[in-house]
């Protein structure tokens, strides 16, 4: 609590006298839940009279909601492709800025019962392997990593999102999965993360932009600036994101 207050104090120093007020709604990828809530509190503290409301969900669902006219001010996506869906329709006209990068990690159950040592183990048929489905960002990134490593993975299941893949790992149903570093960090002690070399070829960029028809355009831009600020990067780094 004390840390938050101190951070909030710092934040206000970096954004002197914006004087932003009013309410804004931020649509953010589910993987940003923890760090964005923190950033939102900082923003509110730095700008008395402002209020930040979040809608956390899968990036593609958010993109569709925005394209259907959902009243959002800011969109923070977990993948450039979902951001593109929104810029394509003109719902966002500003050019999106990359505010964080996420890299993949191998995640194994506590104690590593499958004795996984690297990406090559994902090709073993006798091991139970979970990957994200290619349709979701972490699945697309995994595909790139396997291509870079020249490995044909033998997954037993293609999960609909990172959390589902992580659940399979923490319950010990699979020997390994490929998920984001931030998710491994958030999952706690039940699982262990392993870095691997090919992760660098599948780095996921997180773009952010205010909406063209943002009900509160000034505050929207101020929030985007806050995320992109050094203080914002600090909070994101704590969650395991890499700087852009």
């Amino acid at each position: 609590m004390a840390a938050t207050l101190v951070l909030a104090g710092c934040g206000s120093q970096h954004q002197p006298g914006t004087g932003v007020t009013g309410e804004i709604t931020v649509f953010a990828a589910a993987s940003l839940t923890g760090s964005f809530q923190k950033l939102g509190k900082e923003f509110e503290a730095a700008n008395p009279g402002s209020k930040v409301t979040f809608n956390f969900a899968g990036s593609s669902a958010l993109a569709q909601q925005i394209n259907r006219g959902a009243p959002a001010d800011v969109f923070a996506s977990a993948a450039p492709s979902n951001m593109k869906q929104v810029t394509d329709t003109g719902a966002i006209t500003a050019s999106p800025a990359t505010f964080a990068k996420n890299t993949l990690q191998i995640v194994v159950p506590k104690g590593n019962p499958g004795k996984i040592t690297g990406l090559a183990d994902f090709a073993k048929a006798d091991l139970k392997i979970a990957l994200c489905a290619e349709q979701v960002p972490c699945g697309a990134a995994s595909k790139k990593a396997f291509e870079a490593a020249g490995i044909t993975a033998a997954p037993d299941t293609l999960e609909q999102d990172v959390k589902a893949a992580l659940t399979k790992v923490s319950l010990g149903e699979v020997d390994a999965a490929l998920v984001y570093r931030t998710d491994v960090k958030a999952a706690g002690d039940e699982v262990e993360g392993q870095d691997f070399a090919e992760a660098s070829s599948a780095v996921n960029d997180y773009p952010i932009a205010p909406l063209a028809k943002a009900p509160n355009a000034t505050a929207a831009q101020a929030f985007v600036d806050h995320v992109l600020s050094a203080k914002g990067r600090e909070v994101l780094a704590e969650a395991g994101f890499a700087a852009p």
């Binding site: 899968g58 593609s60 669902a61 569709q64 139970k128 979970a130 489905a133 349709q135 979701v136 997954p155 037993d156 299941t157 293609l158 999960e159 609909q160 589902a164 659940t167 399979k168 319950l171 010990g172 149903e173």
Partner: protein, 259 residues
């Protein structure tokens, strides 16, 4: 004009019908009809549809084999704590399906209470298999069957069973030849509900059985994943699922209810 319908019933009835049908109409309006045939006959859709129909039907058979006797026990026996049992049977209805899937993993998963022995002793692993899909669907759909069959049993006149007994019929024969035919409409209704629920099952299936094309990817899973990248494809898949299920249910209804 003796049979004029009362407005207090007709208005909510029409509103209710609209509430159910308008979202479907929305789906139909948005359907990219031009790409429908190509989607319809693509290998993935065919595979998912086939898997869906097979799994839902197998799950329904499992539910019938286990659920009808369970309904009979709840309706006819005087075993203690029957009220509590009846309430417990409906738990899968209230449980979010994803939680149901996790519960199945905790019991039948590789490290589950029962699953670890299945794995150690028989080398049987249920998650990520088609069998797992059938189990997940059966778990979620069984209450629909049990409730409707039990209702039919409780409404049925038990004196017919007594009549059969006085004619020398054992309880099993009585059940097969007298009770079951007597409650057939209830069994059919329960079967239809059960099958429909199994066909649309998503949460428990993807949690327990995972998602792998040709093995565990049923239509609802395919729809969900398609929604991630290609909403039009998702709509097409939904329409396919909708049309097939309506066709099957309408066919069944005609065959059974009129018989």
């Amino acid at each position: 004009m003796r049979s004029r319908l009362p407005v207090v019933l007709v208005l909510p009835a029409v509103a209710g019908l609209a509430f159910l049908l308008v979202p479907l109409a929305g789906l139909l309006v948005e359907t990219p009809w031009a790409t429908l045939p190509s989607q319809l006959f693509s290998a993935e859709v065919g595979q998912a549809l086939q898997l869906s129909l097979i799994c839902a039907s197998l799950a329904t058979i499992v539910c019938l084999v286990l659920g009808v006797p369970l309904a009979w026990l709840l309706a006819r026996s005087d075993l203690p704590g029957r009220g509590l049992l009846r309430a417990l049977v409906t738990v899968p209805l209230v449980l979010p399906p994803v939680v149901g899937g996790v519960a199945l993993l905790l019991v039948l998963g590789r490290r589950g209470l029962v699953g670890q022995y299945l794995d150690q002793w028989f080398g049987v692993s249920l998650p990520f298999t088609t069998t797992g899909v059938v189990l997940a669907e059966a778990f979620v759909a069984m209450p629909f069957l049990v409730i409707s069959v039990e209702g039919a049993l409780r409404a049925a006149d038990p004196r017919y069973e007594e009549a059969a007994a006085t004619l020398g019929a054992s309880r099993w024969l009585t059940f097969r030849r007298v009770t079951l035919p007597g409650i057939m409409p209830g069994v059919v209704a329960g079967t239809v509900l059960c099958w429909a629920r199994a066909l649309g099952e998503f949460g428990a299936t993807i949690t327990f059985a995972g998602n792998f094309p040709g093995r565990t990817t049923t239509m609802p899973l395919a729809v969900y994943l398609a929604l991630e990248t290609d909403p039009d494809a998702a709509i097409v898949l939904s329409i396919v699922l909708l049309l097939v299920s309506v066709a099957v249910l309408a066919g069944l209804r005609d065959k059974w209810i009129r018989a």
